[in-house]
Symmetry: D3
Subunit: 337 residues, 6 copies
């Protein structure tokens, strides 16, 4: 169950700005954090609110994982440039939701090793990562009509750029989410069936009945001008689509993909040096060699071969040059649109 | 002075294979390394020799820096597939020259933090990294007529793919090196003027009078099918060009670049989140914004701007999403061919 | 709820001495702790009991946080020098309650990063820190009539020296605690309103109905002859006041302070080098500059200013020369007595 | 209560092989483990099943603690050599149950510091170590009639070699376990009364009504040819005894020992250099000096003496040359058979 | 020999500002530093030059040790506020000379563990710390007439506040240094006889014939308003004294101290909890107990006593609450003025 | 060249006791060591001198490597028990020569990773480990007639117990050393030909013309009552043999071994779990399987086999259960006496 229990104690997190008043406010969520190097220290999570009269609220989050950059770049920029007069309603921007992880450039928090996207709905008396999840769940998501949570592959994965929605029990909600994905207008759009949805922000927001869009916009722990532009345009058009910004959605071509089953994932059973035979976005057929994993301790040894289990395109891949046993090496996705 | 002193003690490194006899031999350079977790341990560096009668010798090295992958992938493959009958003379392959760094996936050695490419000509009684440099310098380079040392950008830099030669005092040697670079046939070819050539393998090999080719073939701590193919074809055609393999060099188009002065490097004075405005290979003009560095501790703050100091293309860039003060953010190169 | 649940399993901690018999006994609380470097190891927490016939019991604890020294110095000394004939009743001394933290000189335990004073009432099947909290709560506090828990600022805070009591729902208990604080006779006495009382030893002991005194006696991870003397005299007079030692309380002048609201705390939003404009104990008026925080990465940049939000004295300050965002830089207290 | 709750969510662990079909299958239990260095990584725990028609099932586990070697050596060997035609029923082999700990050569898991043998019955939504415990408890133990869990002393303890059973409430089950211990045929057999049985695999399996055998076969983080031979023969004869392999149990002489109370354990109160006066297996009498602990910071200081509290033999000892306060230095066992 | 050899290669350090031109310039010394997390990274050391026509040059340095704060606070402030019109000649300010150590808040550099004040005259091809020493020695000291190097006790020592000069072979130079110390006007002035002057900045500067002043202004890894004021006034009056600033030296009372021999240092032979019996600045007589060191592993044990070996005052002390064997616990200085 | 240069600066190490006077003195060698956690700290190396009139001097050293225990146990005991009246001449005991390594229980020093036995003759201005080597070489060895340096296998090797001498250019010196080895009377005596003698204490002492005995007395990072007894008797009889103690050498049977060439060492090329087929001291014939190394990442894979290259006994073996590529797995020695 991803919705928080009703009788939890209050969150220790205190915002330094008013989340309700009109205008632009830059501030922090202050999370008290007593530790060896600061007995009365705090984690300071940047937050920005741009509000203007009546209208819907959009909650925009980046750095759910701390090594994913297209979202934070687009959101720090938006917070710096969006003017109240451009807005009808409210935009709440959390460009670096798991700030300790973002500051460290790591997927998980260096404080408690917490993976924020496996920590929802969170706990007010748990680890710092769980406290962030709890505050977002109980204090921010209820304010929102639409939630956009940016992801990319991080330091160890790389993706073809897509926005995504999940299959949901409520058909109307699913349709609204997919329409929002279309508005985002990434080169690819994905109908995602999560392998393990326990603890995800996605599930929590969706169970609270909100329109939810997530993304995977490249990866490797970097961002290019091209992929940042996808994020920048995507958030802009989503805000227009949601009625928070004026104007018309600039329709861009998107190609729908599907991950129909666990067969789309290919894992390595061996450690070694990975040589891909196919690059991201290229077509593959069932049985094709996607990559070879060579042992490194000696020359002359035969590699371990990773093959596609279905037709489609190479939609995601392991990024670092070395692979460990159990790593997901490649993801094949079907083209459906 | 990059050439080793004449009166050094013998190297402690022992090869497990005969470097002279004909045929294919896979083995190791064993470097004794006494440490807390193995009093009588060793570092085992894979080596392969493929020899067939009289002819020139090529020395091929990868993983001079441990997080650069196109070279090692091409070289482990070559060691697995090259047959003696394909060779006239000898090919010595060291696919993972700084093996401890390569195994750890790091630029420098986790054993002694040694940057192998700043450790030449090395010392037989120094750190493990210095011992590797010394053995290569005194035992392997003298056997070679041509040396190819593969580099890519590693985890923190990314490059347009090129092979490179240096400006050398001996014009004939420089011309021979450039001809070898042409034969390698990467999309780009670079005339490199190193900022700091002290301790480099390049300098040592060149001062010993050999034909020397180096490369930068993308980066980010990964390799794509496309960039590995550049490495694979490049080493093949270089061996043909050098007369070690039979056949004709397959001429591919290459574009010559130049790094005329230190102005090609742009450094950041601030820490922050880097948003590139230009991608690798795109044209830039003097004064263009290459990237913006935003502070991350709060929203709403103005970014620090990095500009091009000359016309050319964006030839290299900082890879991770976060930048520290003093990091080289971008390299502009002039198009000369 | 700070009182332990009634159906908990027994504590794994075993005392090596009899806590009931008359005389002086020095021993340990042995807490089994299986770990990589000792499969059947234990944490050994020093304990001393000095008992003599009928009378009240005082429980004296130091190093609740491991980097606070006035209390432990006074208590090791007391354990070495107090004779049974000086006592009527019993004194239980735990000079280093979180012994692993004390041995490491750190606020929290190096074993499990546990902050003991956020771990009460503890768990018998939790982390080592939680096991200590549970044993103290269930085995020691019930034996006590009065509990004195020594604190100082530790490595990252510094205080004017005071003993303190909390506002309590039971007026009689609060008055008894304040009378004990007066008897302690530190230069200052504080009516403390804790910002976050969840998990504190204080709350647990107070909810169990005991007379409870805590202190803050300077800080910085050190102790001076002067501040140790305050601790030494304070514990002596408190024992006399409680009827555990004979004699008369030596009345020393004390000045009552109050922390009326969260406004007494001033936090930094920036990282930098902190220059205080006021020293501990000096008077301040609302709006006064308490400190300036300068960025360190370049000269010539303007500092961030920290100001007092009320009239009073500077009662506590951040100790290290560098500050991080979110650190509490200064505490202003009102003079009420 | 060591039996799992009935309403737990499903385990995230997926076996790569069919646990039911006849024949020999080598594979892995794949445990998804998202982390900084592999966002979609997994822990891969080797598993082997050898099955042949109807008959009982034996579950054989090694490396419950990752630095204990006789069991893993015997079990990797058995998995490599046992043929289906040798089996009636099924043998399930988990030679390295806490694989992350085994790979690191440490008692506990380097991932989460989990001691697997204090983590039963486990949790499907807990740490990786708890997930392993849960899967073994809910997916493997129910398949088994007899369970053999190999232990040795690991890096910090050393034992005389024995197999062991516990005193159990069900006399019939205890007798069956002891008969299995006899069949194992180690030089010693122990009736063990665990000091702290909470969280142990032993307790969970016994409460599920299975025949359970554990061992302690030397230690020090190594294995000798002699002690591996005890493991090899023991598992063979236990499988014959259980009816899973054909043939007759080769009866070897075993000597029954007993650990009647906590007095069998001797702890050090001091840190220092330990000099044993008695070696493993040698007879001791109550009051004998077992070991002396010398302070190391200066010469000339008197040692701390550790004495036997009962007659018997030295059955176990602290292994490393240095001792910390609270370490168990020696275990005396009574000879009863 | 503390003066650099004449034939060294050039320094790799590049200043970003002109050190010669008039006016105020804020910039950096950029030290190239290739490492795993930035292949083409640099260390950026802040520098400020304020110059105005002809006149003497003062070189002012802070954070020679990275955890000493009075100097850096006064120097960042001076760099922010000093105007060219206040100057006759030139002031070169390096407020954080060992910047990596200063940023980390540690005595030595986290990069190479280098103690800058044991690294002079440095090496251009050594570690980053040695490169800083070399640049300061060869590029900055030769420009200076007077050098002021700020020290305090850092995290592990505390001092009565003093400026100091050394006994020098050249009586005229010694007199000039002492006159500068008088001008600085700290509460105490010290004639220092260094125990180990090898590698010190002091020795290098003095051997180059400059007027040199050093300080010890409290410690503990912090700074108070009072001790910063000593630094602020001291540097101001020294600049006036040296003729770089206009105005008159504001004479403040100072008391001259002497450290006549190694007997002034008292070391601990034991580890433990240190209780001082005397505070800084208090008078002591030969044989007085300065401090007691108590063992912490048990109560009731006798402490180790540290006594004064001469009459004088307690001039310095170990700061942290715990002491290790070999730590200098206390320094007694003789009053000579 | 292992003898120190004549023009070195003086050692910074200061002994706290007089090395010349008669009687028993326990003290320390104090080595100044400035570091982040103690600016004026020192390393304190225990030393004991027992002297009585005219006669030869024996220098006895333990913990040259910090994880070898028979020597330190015997030497702390000897220092505690040997009386001046038992001595003719002088015994200098350094039971923990590399004290930082000994205190940490590691082969090398945790301070500087220095392997003391590869650091001779040392440097007075080098690392702490080099400073220890220099002091022993220049201040202690010249005082000695005979030097006994205790070794065992440490945490990663195990040996049959032997004392050893080296082949030396001076036949008379070699014979004197062998006679001393005989007097030591270990179960085995070895004529050792070191693989790599550079930097060893042995070489330095032998080149200074002294009688030198070294040992290998078991290993694994522990000591048994039996092997400590070998050390205890050995040092006693060596002192008698050398004329420093009165009495007669108690002749014990010893078996001479030889390590005739590098073939006695067997290395692993693979990582894995090691299963020895032969135990220490057992006879082996050329070609015998000594051990099998199994891969651990899956069951069912064939092991790598380690074989004997000559007839003899298994004289030493790798101790931990896991092996890395390049580890010495086994040493075969020839029986010659």
């Amino acid at each position: 169950m991803a919705i928080p229990a009703p009788d939890l104690p209050p969150s220790p997190i205190v915002p330094s700005i008013d989340l309700q008043a009109d205008g632009v406010r830059h501030g922090h969520l202050r999370l008290p954090y007593s530790r060896d190097d600061s007995a009365w220290g705090s984690v300071m999570i940047p937050i920005c609110v741009i509000a203007n009269g009546e209208g819907p609220t959009a909650l925009l989050t980046g750095a759910n994982h701390g090594d994913e950059y297209e979202g934070p770049i687009a959101l720090y920029e938006l917070a710096r440039t969006l003017r109240p007069q451009d807005v009808t309603g409210r935009v709440i921007i959390l460009p670096a939701m798991n700030y300790p992880a973002f500051e460290a450039g790591t997927r998980t928090s260096p404080i408690d090793k917490g993976n924020l996207n496996r920590s929802f709905p969170g706990r007010p008396d748990g680890t710092p990562t769980q406290k962030i999840a709890d505050y977002v769940t109980r204090a921010l998501v209820p304010l929102a009509d639409v939630v956009l949570d940016f992801h990319s592959g991080g330091k160890t994965l790389d993706f073809v750029p897509f926005a995504a929605a999940h299959r949901l029990p409520d058909g109307r909600q699913e349709a609204a989410c997919k329409a929002a994905v279309e508005a985002f207008g990434a080169p690819y759009s994905m109908t995602m069936l999560e392998i393990d949805a326990v603890g995800m922000f996605d599930t929590t927001v969706e169970e609270m009945g909100k329109v939810f869009v997530t993304t995977e916009l490249a990866g490797g722990g970097t961002a290019s001008a091209r992929t940042v532009e996808i994020a920048r345009r995507g958030v802009n058009d989503l805000l227009v689509h949601a009625g928070v910004m004026r104007g018309a959605v600039e329709r861009r071509e998107t190609r729908w993909l599907d991950m129909p089953s666990g067969d789309c994932f290919a894992f390595s059973e061996e450690a070694g040096l990975v040589a891909f035979r196919v690059d991201l976005g290229e077509p593959v057929r069932e049985g094709d060699v996607l990559a070879e994993i060579s042992p490194i301790s000696r020359t002359g040894a035969a590699p371990f071969t990773v093959r596609a289990a279905m037709d489609g395109i190479l939609a995601a891949r392991h990024f670092p040059g070395l692979v460990k046993p159990g790593d997901c090496v490649a993801v094949t996705a079907q083209i459906v649109g």
